[in-house]
Symmetry: C2
């Protein structure tokens, strides 16, 4: 269970103050599948970074599985991130000098998984996103959508209980995007929680609940009725 | 007029040979507005890079305004690029240490435009994409969609005769995406040529012709009838 109350994130740039997240209350149950939508600049990635323990709020409280994470040390936050949360970044954040396979292995390296098992699990994750034949290629040798799929494989490889996916299909054609949604549906059926940001309504309708942000605040929060 | 015949681009990665563009013939008249669509990995960005003189084909010929550009030196290619072509990259390619305004000024700096004029024109270009109030911010202080809009402003600032836009709206909500399409329509009405890659059908339908790629080859080339 994720429970945030009164979360704000305020950036100070010179004399300008930007209220990226302006007071958000949000609860996400275990095994929920929700999408976050909203205009460019409305605070989606900022909120995702806070939910994923990659950033801390300016104010407000965040309880993850009953534990207040606002007060944790960096190493404790990193432990939770690596163990509980898989993240697909809007900008992919792949290591440019590592191969696709090595990029996907990363969460397993942090998790202390032995080399043979690591290689096998990373290979399977790449296969699940249709890139088994490109495992030895570096990000610069892959198309935009292929890089995105490597990022997705890396988020999935250690089967985290929570997947946070920021625009996971933005660079994918609709057929490949639907294939990724099938993977997410399977993960969700397995008990995991998925929170994704998307600009595409047809992608959001794969989830079960859509939360809309506007100027750093939640403007609506509705179940998806066709699904 | 752009005329390419028998264009191939073959990458060699270890023992693997990847035919990113496998034999493309394409003609684009002045003042045309066309979209290129196709699955992830089908060769769209590779073709765009060739059309934009950012890369050279493995084989084939490319005639730009009656001049065979295959045989030009790098400085001659760079001259054509800077003078004729504005490019929106799939990965934005913004300078991380420069402000939004400085990023947009870049084509004008290369073009030898004086400082005051440069600043004014860059400011107007940023205003046209709704980011006048963020001119002093660096890319890391901007959202994904805001960075994309800076990239679009930079492509437009010296009013190039050809705009090549690789996924210009992939990180934008549909409302902001439609605003960008309005800008492109205005540019097209002014006589410029636009070639854009997009995965979004509703974006492609703003153009007048859709070319579809599949496995490095053109699979269809049709006028858009509703527009
Ligand atoms: N520098 C490179 N070295 C090796 N292979 C490459 C390189 N650049 C692209 N490729 C490969 O060439 C093929 C076409 O790539 P391209 O980037 O043109 O695809 P795309 O249609 O733009 O895909 P997307 O929709 O995912 O952006 C892909 O299989 C890609 O992996
Ligand atoms: N590091 C930062 N410093 C200053 N301002 C920031 C920073 N990161 C984000 N912002 C600003 O905070 C606001 C929200 O940004 P955020 O990235 O959360 O938006 P978003 O909803 O993800 O947008 P997009 O759809 O464009 O990706 C924006 O105005 C953005 O410019
Ligand atoms: Mg974002
Ligand atoms: Mg591409």
């Amino acid at each position: 269970l994720i429970s945030v109350k009164g979360i704000t994130k305020i950036y100070q740039v010179g004399v300008q103050e930007i209220r990226a997240v302006a007071g958000v209350d949000l609860q996400v149950q275990n095994n929920e599948y929700l999408s976050i939508m909203g205009p460019s600049g409305s605070g989606k990635s900022t909120l995702m970074n806070i939910l994923g323990c990659l950033d801390t709020p300016t104010s407000g409280s965040y309880s993850l599985n009953g534990e207040e994470v606002s007060g944790l040390r960096d190493d404790e936050l990193a432990f939770i991130r690596n163990k509980e949360i898989g993240f697909v970044f809007q900008t992919f954040n792949l290591l440019p000098r590592a191969s696709a396979l090595q990029n996907v292995e990363l969460p397993l390296i942090y998790g202390g998984v032995p080399s043979d098992e690591r290689r096998e699990r990373a290979g399977k994750a790449l296969d699940s996103v249709g890139l088994a034949d490109r495992a030895s290629h570096r990000p610069s040798e892959l198309s935009g959508g292929q890089r995105q799929r490597v990022a997705i494989a890396r988020a999935l490889v250690n089967n985290p209980s929570i997947i946070l996916a920021d625009e996971p299909t933005g660079n994918l054609d609709s057929s490949t995007g639907n294939e990724i949604m099938d993977i997410f549906k399977e993960i969700h059926s397995g008990g995991n929680t998925i929170i994704m940001v998307t600009h595409e309504e047809y992608i959001a309708e794969h989830s079960k609940r859509i939360v809309r942000l506007l100027d750093g605040l939640i403007s609506s929060d509705k179940q998806v009725v066709n699904n």
